[in-house]
């Protein structure tokens, strides 16, 4: 059940967008397709929705073979990055569109629309046009419109990509809560690892048309299957022979058994954290190591630019040796 994708391939001319994709997306969960732009994740989502057709392979939605079905018949809710609002219709009409297509009785449409607008907190805006709404409100309207048809799956293509940072943060928390309420199988595409880690039950990392790894946010973050997954899920730096997250590095001001020693050559303060660059003394590994410490740690250690430090991985840090 859920969504079963088997052996999907897709080419655009010479460009290989997707290659042998096999993926099961479980029912009722919030799954994120994560990867860099142009990696094929949006194409996969559009193939699930029927907006794009695969060159080969099959798609099954909730046990139903959807491979040959047009988008109209898949009963899929789709939310676009740029809202795709029907500009000449009021918020209410937008949400009612799918129900009217399905020829639902008028009073049922009215009741359902009111219910959905309450769910997305837009009940006082029902008679406005999309142009009179903010970006966040428009995207919530689009979400209500997609949910109105009681879709078997809800697909969101970079849903918060066009919004500013603060609204984006609010909306993804809200999406998480909404999903806990509605429980519809949801797949969303994002290139923002923070968004994916925060919102999703499970992550599918896609790069260059292939699936790199599938797992829970913790799995992927702590046990990345490849250097790509490790580096995509957060900042990484090279310490000695291994890759490690910059905040997983321990350091002292006095010589001891360390992996690397060097001088602090760069100092960038961003709010509570300080990003440092340490240039190793070891001429075999001359590339600077990125380290992140909190302001408090830096004060306690009396760090300053030019100081000599000794670095080693923190106890319990996950690292991928390459």
């Amino acid at each position: 059940m859920g969504i079963e994708i088997r052996g999907v391939n897709k080419n655009f001319g010479d460009f290989v967008a997707l290659q042998d994709i096999d993926l099961s997306i479980p029912s009722g969960q919030l799954t994120a397709l994560l990867g860099p732009s142009g990696g094929g994740k949006s194409t996969l989502l559009r193939i699930i929705a029927g907006l794009e057709s695969a060159d080969s392979g099959t798609i099954e939605i909730e046990g139903l073979d959807a491979t040959g079905l047009p988008a109209q018949k898949r009963n899929v809710g789709f939310v676009f990055q740029h809202y795709a609002a029907f500009k000449h219709m009021t918020v209410e009409k937008n949400v009612a569109f799918g129900l009217e297509i399905r020829k639902k009785p008028k009073d049922e449409v009215k009741r359902r629309v009111a219910e959905l607008l309450r769910l997305v907190h837009l009940e006082q805006f029902s008679h406005r046009l999309p142009a009179q709404l903010s970006g966040g409100q428009r995207q919530r309207m689009a979400l209500a419109r997609a949910l109105a048809i009681e879709p078997s799956v809800l697909l969101l293509d970079e849903p918060f990509g066009a919004l500013d940072a603060k609204v984006r943060k609010e909306l993804r928390e809200w999406l998480r809560r909404l999903h806990d309420e509605v429980h519809v199988t949801t797949v969303f595409v994002t290139h923002d690892q923070e968004e994916a880690l925060e919102v999703a039950d499970s992550l599918v990392v896609i790069n260059e048309g292939r699936i790199e790894q599938i797992g829970t946010p913790d799995d992927l973050y702590d046990r990345p299957a490849s250097e790509f997954v490790l580096s995509f899920l957060g900042p990484v730096t090279r310490l000695g022979d291994s890759l490690i997250r910059p905040h997983d590095i321990d350091f002292t001001r006095y010589e001891h058994a360390a992996t690397t020693s060097g001088r602090i050559t760069r100092w960038t303060r961003v709010g509570f954290e300080i990003r440092l660059e340490v240039t190793p003394d070891d001429t075999l590994h001359p590339d600077p190591v990125q380290v992140i410490v909190t302001r408090t740690e830096a004060t306690a250690l009396q760090l300053h630019e030019g100081a000599q430090v000794w670095l080693r991985p923190r106890a319990g840090a996950e690292a991928v040796v390459s």
Binding site: A71, Y83, I101
Partner: protein, 284 residues
């Protein structure tokens, strides 16, 4: 702040009211801009138009009535308006279709077609008339002779008004989000429903504008149809030819009467099209 206009003193109260109700007040530069625009518009449009209207009723209502009840003039007006209406209706459909093809489809020779569409714009109308005469006249290489019939008027109008709807719809269609159509599809709407409820309402203002231009050009056309139509009284004579005849005969008041009627018809058409357009847009 506001423009210095002593003659508008009674308007001061109105201005204040406008400001308090959130209306705009003019800055110096926008006041100057509005002034220039209004003067320009008055010189070129308002004053000449009022003069025509005044001239037409100058000779008293009697001249006006007589001109209109003159069977030859009435026939010319009827012919002009019906042909312009038919041609506009065809343009609405064909123009939208051509614009659609030009925007949405890729085919060899598309760039050429883009240029060809504009030829009726670029061609001096009398040259268009010559082209039409040689193509559909007595010596037609196609064997189609419509000279001296109503159809010649129809054909000439169709030729010169072709670009209007195409050129007004095309840019709007290009701006139209494909996302929106996909959203409609994923909500279950078929091609036809999407066209009727999503695409057409977005295009309606552009189609209306094109139709208005096409109709206005249609009722005023002269150059392209005089050669082919033969200007036969009661049969193929159009209103603009009629005006010219009146002027040549020194009957300026009658000419102005016909002009006023054309003006009213054009106004009525524009208003009607606006109403239709907003109705389609609202209904979507």
């Amino acid at each position: 702040m506001t423009v210095d206009a002593p003659s508008l003193a009674p308007g001061a109260a109105r201005r204040r009211r406008a400001r308090s109700s959130g209306g705009t007040s003019l800055t110096r530069s926008s006041g100057l801009g509005l002034g220039v625009a209004l003067t320009w518009f008055s010189l070129l449009v308002l004053i000449p138009l009022s003069l025509v209207v005044i001239q037409s009723i100058d000779g008293g209502w009697e001249t006006f009535r007589q001109t209109l009840t003159n069977p030859q003039t009435a026939a010319a007006l009827r012919l002009t308006v019906t042909q312009a209406l038919i041609v506009t209706a065809i343009n609405v459909v064909m123009g939208t279709l051509i614009a659609w093809v030009l925007v949405r489809d890729d085919f060899p020779g598309k760039r050429v077609l883009e240029v060809v569409i504009d030829i009726p714009f670029a061609l001096p109308t009398i040259v268009a008339g010559l082209v039409l005469l040689s193509l559909y006249g007595p010596d037609s290489p196609l064997g189609v002779n419509v000279a001296n019939t109503e159809r010649s008027v129809f054909l000439a109008l169709l030729f010169v008004t072709l670009p209007f709807v195409v050129r007004t719809v095309q840019p709007v269609l290009m701006e139209l989000d494909r996302d929106v159509e996909e959203a409609a599809a994923s909500l279950g709407a078929g091609r036809f429903t999407t066209l009727r409820r999503i695409i057409l309402p977005s295009l309606a203002p552009a189609i209306t504008a094109g139709a208005a231009l096409s109709f206005a050009r249609g009722i005023s056309e002269y150059g392209s149809l005089v050669l082919l139509s033969g200007n036969l009284p009661l049969k193929t004579e159009v209103a603009s030819v009629r005006i010219l005849t009146y002027i040549e005969n020194g009957n300026d008041a009658a000419a102005a009467s016909v002009a006023t009627i054309l003006l009213l018809v054009a106004l009525a058409a524009i208003v009607l099209l606006q109403v239709i357009s907003s109705w389609v847009a609202r209904r979507g």
